[in-house]
């Protein structure tokens, strides 16, 4: 049941501009692009990943960042072309893979938060990301 409390407000730095809202998918594990995701359906395929088999398509993806092969940006780029990109990316570890991947996926992206997004945001929460204002609003679901 939806709660009527005020949404939690988290501030951060916009990496790719834009505003979007949607359902959160949260993992404390970094994600591989090439070899880690299926770019045709947006699912995680890395066999030891806690989200294996789940899709991030259309979700507000909350994760530490990118790992693995340099195909990261190209694979997330293809999720955009294939219409299965996440709706937004909220991440905590800046790397070149992560920055370039967010830029070419062209979805709102943020980092450098003033709160721990892994404890404040849970999978299924409703999240409003405004990368231009530098805000994330979280409503518990």
């Amino acid at each position: 049941m939806e709660t009527l409390t005020t949404p939690l407000l988290i501030r951060g730095r916009g990496v790719v501009s834009g505003r979007v809202e949607g359902e959160a998918l949260v993992t404390t594990q970094t994600i591989s692009g090439w070899g880690g995701i299926n770019e045709r359906d947006g699912s995680i395929i890395e066999r030891r990943h806690e989200l294996v088999g789940q899709s991030f398509a259309g979700k507000i993806l909350v994760f530490p960042g990118a790992k693995g092969s340099s195909g990261w940006s190209a694979f997330f780029h293809m999720t955009r072309i294939n219409g299965v990109a996440p709706a937004a990316m909220l991440f905590t570890r800046m790397t070149t893979k992560m920055a370039l991947g967010a830029v070419v996926t062209r979805v709102p992206a943020m980092t450098d938060f003033d709160a721990d997004v892994f404890t404040e945001i849970r999978t299924g929460d409703h999240v409003v990301v405004d990368a231009d204002a530098g805000t994330v609003e979280v409503t518990r679901r």
């Binding site: 990496v15 045709r40 790992k67 693995g68 072309i81 967010a102």
Partner: protein, 423 residues
């Protein structure tokens, strides 16, 4: 981000539309990183090939559209000029000679050839390997590079003292046309010092040892910079290639120091510079066994495919395989593919290695690998490989069971059809 007058002119179209699109992407990317400026580079290693099914639709509209969309992230198709920086092609999806063996669609082969003709015409050197440093692109100490391919990046930074971040398909396209890349991360001296310490307390000598140590290193330090000290011997190009590929697979390691062996540190103090180790890890016999077990994803001991050459094999590695297979025959149910850069394959042919491997029933492939191409011999269920990187990725990509072990264990499995392993 600060731009020089030349860079502003590029952005504003003085170098043509493609250069402007490239500069636009570099600005978006540099701002996302929080970079202060760009740095000049004359050494780009990227992925300009069109050899995957997902590219086919775009390729139907011409190779300029492929480059514009996938290498520059430009919605507008722009005319692609000569590369401004020295640029090479990394690994591709199709072996130009053994494509039928791969089961590649002839239309895809044609698309790949069209794409190679297009970028070759514009000055991209078609090395077609994940190891450009084996076939002529060896950065000098301190050289600013823009490289893709995690195993090549860690080799460039750690083994050679070149300077590159892990770039992507789009940023290498932009760097090739502008000779610029964001001045961030490993381009800056202060970001190259160690911050994790690994003490090696079990002898690390063989290729298997170096692969396991690499896999442990990535597991422990993730994206940090390890300084390794202790019982390591036999440090050479091939061992560091193997070590780095493993560390970049299990973690995101892009830089490391082995004081006394790697170029930026003669002793541990130099490796750490102003930093102190934030974590201390011990690699011992138990850790080694744990890594070996972690890399296994198979249960069925009946093996049907042996994958060797990830990262692409050196000439000595190909020679070693030829020696181990000399005068023998692979089990009839097993396929064995050896992967090496095409330039090295030429030397391997001349040295008689290719003929000896083929006489045993094996194949020598170039330009690609099964993880990149997603192509294995038909009906493969269980693979064995001597590469920690391939053992990490291929089972997930190809939905097969995977054994990992020494080259000797892989060859034995190839000859008997049964996996025995090393422990």
């Amino acid at each position: 981000m600060h731009l020089t007058d030349t860079e502003k002119a590029m952005r504003d179209g003085a170098g043509g539309e493609a250069v402007a699109a490239a500069m636009d992407l570099l600005i978006r990317y540099g701002n996302a990183l929080g970079a202060e400026r760009l740095v000049e580079t004359d050494n780009v290693a990227g992925a300009f090939n069109a050899s995957t099914p997902s590219v086919r639709k775009i390729a139907e509209n011409g190779m300029a559209e492929v480059f514009s969309r996938l290498n520059l992230d430009s919605d507008k198709t722009v005319e692609i000029p000569q590369m401004a920086a020295r640029t090479c092609q990394l690994i591709t999806g199709i072996d130009d000679q053994n494509w039928a063996l791969q089961g590649a669609d002839p239309q895809m082969v044609q698309m790949q050839r069209d794409s190679e003709a297009f970028v070759g015409q514009r000055g991209v050197n078609l090395m077609a390997t994940c190891t450009p440093y084996q076939v002529g692109n060896v950065p000098t100490f301190g050289e600013h590079c823009a490289w893709m391919e995690s195993s090549a990046v860690i080799y460039c930074n750690g083994a050679l003292g070149g300077r590159t971040n892990v770039e992507g398909k789009e940023s290498t396209g932009a760097a090739a046309l502008t000779g610029r890349i964001p001045y961030w991360g490993y381009h800056l001296t202060e970001n190259r010092y160690g911050n994790r310490h690994i003490r090696v307390e079990v002898p690390v000598r063989s290729m298997l040892d170096w692969g396991l140590l690499g896999y442990f290193t990535g597991e422990m330090v993730e994206e940090n910079i390890p300084v390794l000290e202790g019982q390591m011997s036999g440090v050479d190009l091939v061992k560091l290639k193997h070590f780095g590929a493993a560390a970049a697979s299990s973690g995101g390691v892009e830089m490391y120091h082995i004081p006394g062996h790697t170029p930026e540190a003669r002793i541990a103090d130099e490796a750490f510079g102003p930093n102190r180790a934030e974590d201390f890890h011990v690699y011992d016999a138990a850790a080694r066994k744990k890594m070996y077990d972690t890399l296994q994803s198979a249960e069925d001991r009946k093996v049907d495919f042996i994958m060797l050459g990830c990262p692409h094999n050196s000439i000595e590695q190909v020679g070693r395989i030829a020696h181990l297979l000399d005068g023998k025959r692979l089990h009839p149910d097993v396929a064995l593919w050896v992967h090496t850069p095409r330039a090295i394959r030429t030397v391997a042919e001349r040295s008689g290695y290719v003929a000896r491997i083929e006489a045993a029933g094996g194949k020598v492939m170039s330009d690609t690998c099964p993880a990149i191409s997603r192509r294995l011999p038909e009906g493969v269920r269980v693979i064995a490989t001597d590469s920690a990187k391939q053992a990490h990725y291929l089972p997930a990509i190809a939905k097969v069971q995977g054994w990992f072990g020494s080259l000797e264990a892989c060859i034995e499995a190839g000859l008997t059809g049964t996996w025995k392993g090393d422990f």
